[in-house]
Amino acid sequence: MSSAAVTETMRNAGVNWHSDEMKARRKARYAADRRLQIYGMIAIAFALGFLAILVGSLTFTGYKAFTQTVATVEIDLSQAKVDPANIGEADWRGIVRNALRAQLPDLSRSDERKFFEMFTSSGQFLVRDAVVADPGRLKGVSSFTIPMADPVDQLAKGEIRRDVPESQRRVNDTQIGLYDQLVQKGIISTPFNWGLFFNADSRFPELAGLAGAISGSFWSLLVCFAISFPIGIAAAIYLEEFAPKNRLTDLIEVNINNLAAVPSVVFGLLGLAVFLGWLGLPRSAPLVGGFVLALMTLPTLIIVTRVSLKSVPSSIREAALGIGASKHEAIFHHILPLAMPTVMTGSIISLARALGETAPLLLIGMNAFITSPPDGVFAASTALPTQIYIWADSPERGFVSRTSAAILVLLAFLVLMNGIAIFLRQRFERRW
């Protein structure tokens, strides 16, 4: 039929597609499409905008924590009285003080005290540990880096301003003068703050790092994964493939869905009562943290696994059963492998959520002040989010930027994990 003939039929049917009314009508419909698109774009712009503000402000306050002001001091250990067989016993405090004294000789006694305060109070231990690690240093002159105390670090980074009256700042005029002299001598520098990653927590911001928190989080997540992954998959397989559909399984299903929505602090309380109270497991231990996080992760993981099992088309199941595969063969040879990429993606995303979870860990005491990284799942430890919580609560100036830096580190881990999840999904997930 020619298009003229089509139009003819329509005219006969009483429809005039070219009338002004019809045109206006179509125009209104197109406009509605466009409006919807614009709303969507505005929503996305909002979301991205807030994300940018969050990351931006964290970076702005946190970036300074990624560097640390240090003094590089030459120490001649051949002159010092150190017993090579017993390095730890030497008078490291005296050795370090002498070395510092040598930088600015002729200070009055009271100035000298202010001068020493400008360096971290743990300088002696850092030097001792460096020598223990490399006893060859005892033979001659070698240089050591000693972090500056927090106020000086803040001064160097411009966080403490010189034009503020002396009584209102934590670095006095004398110290500013001494600091300038040190700068002039060229021994002050601000290198990358590796300590942020390799030191454990400390009361002194210049020494505080995330090593304890990172390994605490690692152990907790390991425990969480080791428990929730197998249990979650087993439960999901049973519910999806074997369980009869009756009242009881309906009830179980509803409860799993409800559990997934229970606030995490409740799981923390449960962990406190059961794991610490009844079972008497150690406080602050990543083991218990992992248990609690597993409780929290399980419902989500079961739901994700069930959905992914369900999404494998029944034709595959029938194909397997049709040639005489038993039920477990159909599941383990065909259905589960096809569901696995989605299950993995789901688990990683659940683990990422567990990584950021704070409340339950606070309740089981993973917010303790612990100055060495845990050496296993039983050692007391903090985790990344609880470390952030601790630092955010600390009054020292240096912890402000360190809190933001720690959040950035946590976000980096989250992005990394989600990235892996996305990668797995893109790489392995099958679409039907």
Binding site: S315, I316, E318, A319, L321, I323, G324, A325
Partner: protein, 271 residues
């Protein structure tokens, strides 16, 4: 009067030969999906080395009957089967029967080609592997080649045995599924509208294949195409609303059916 007695004689003869000729016998088979009854006392015999076509309007219970033969209905929640179905005179619904063995002996090909998302080779080797029918690599190679040969697919895929079976065309996939069913050495092959997702050329190939397979296997095929039923089958059974209306030689069925409903259906008057 005369006609009646003739029918009676035929029936008696049939009964006599049943042991030798009938591979599967369904007696008073009823199937319920929960409260809903889908089959009403169906009595249908499947002859050895014969292609039996099941026809009838949509929803009349053809698939349901087919799936009772290898107990695929077991996988459906709330499905209940009464009556008896025997395979070589042994009740397939007996407590002692092993479904895994039953399904190896009574294979199935589905409406939509459903190869495993694995290689062509793996698709076919899988059945023999789980049933322990082959052990060495050479055994498997032989089974795979044989099955593909029988399914008339070997020449088309022999250079790509290790490529995914899902990469084949629809018709090839369906023949792969037939090869997969053949590989475990079944005695009966059930096919539920095996050509409904295929184009005419692929359909012709599968029909040809069914024709050849008849010498070695007993085949039951559900089809909506009267032409197909006429082309591939020797016996035809007509279902309507869960009842078996008529079962007869295909030739007779399509020229001179006993039942008015069959006549109407074949003439396209309902369905």
């Amino acid at each position: 009067m005369n006609i009646m007695s003739e029918a009676a004689v035929e029936k008696a003869l049939e009964q006599k030969m049943s042991d030798a000729h009938f591979k599967m016998v369904g007696k008073d088979v009823s199937v319920y999906y929960g409260e809903k009854r889908a089959l009403f006392d169906v009595n249908l015999n499947v002859r050895k080395n014969t292609v039996t076509a099941l026809i009838g309007p949509s929803g009349c219970g053809k698939s349901t009957f087919l799936r009772t033969l290898n107990r695929m209905n077991d996988t459906i929640e709330g499905c209940r089967v009464t009556g008896s179905i025997t395979l070589d005179n042994a009740d397939v619904y007996d407590q002692s029967v092993d479904v895994v063995e039953l399904r190896a002996r009574v294979g199935m090909v589905f409406q939509k080609p459903n190869p495993f998302p694995k290689s062509i080779y793996e698709n076919i080797a899988y059945g023999p592997r789980i049933h322990g029918l082959a052990r060495s690599k050479a055994d498997f190679d032989e089974v795979v080649e044989n099955s593909l040969q029988k399914a008339g697919l070997f020449n088309e895929v022999k250079d790509r045995l290790h490529e995914p079976g899902t990469g084949l065309s629809g018709g090839q996939q369906q023949r792969l599924c037939i090869a997969r069913a053949i590989a475990v050495g079944p005695e009966v092959i059930l096919m539920d509208e095996p050509c409904s997702a295929l184009d005419p050329i692929a359909t012709a190939k599968v029909e040809e294949l069914i024709h050849e397979l008849r010498t070695n296997f007993t085949i039951v095929i559900v089809t909506h195409s009267m032409q197909q039923a006429a082309r591939v089958s020797q016996r035809t059974a007509m279902f309507h609303l869960g009842n078996l209306v008529e079962e007869n030689d295909t030739d007779k069925m399509f020229t001179n059916p006993d039942d008015q409903r069959t006549q109407d259906y074949i003439m396209g008057r309902f369905g």
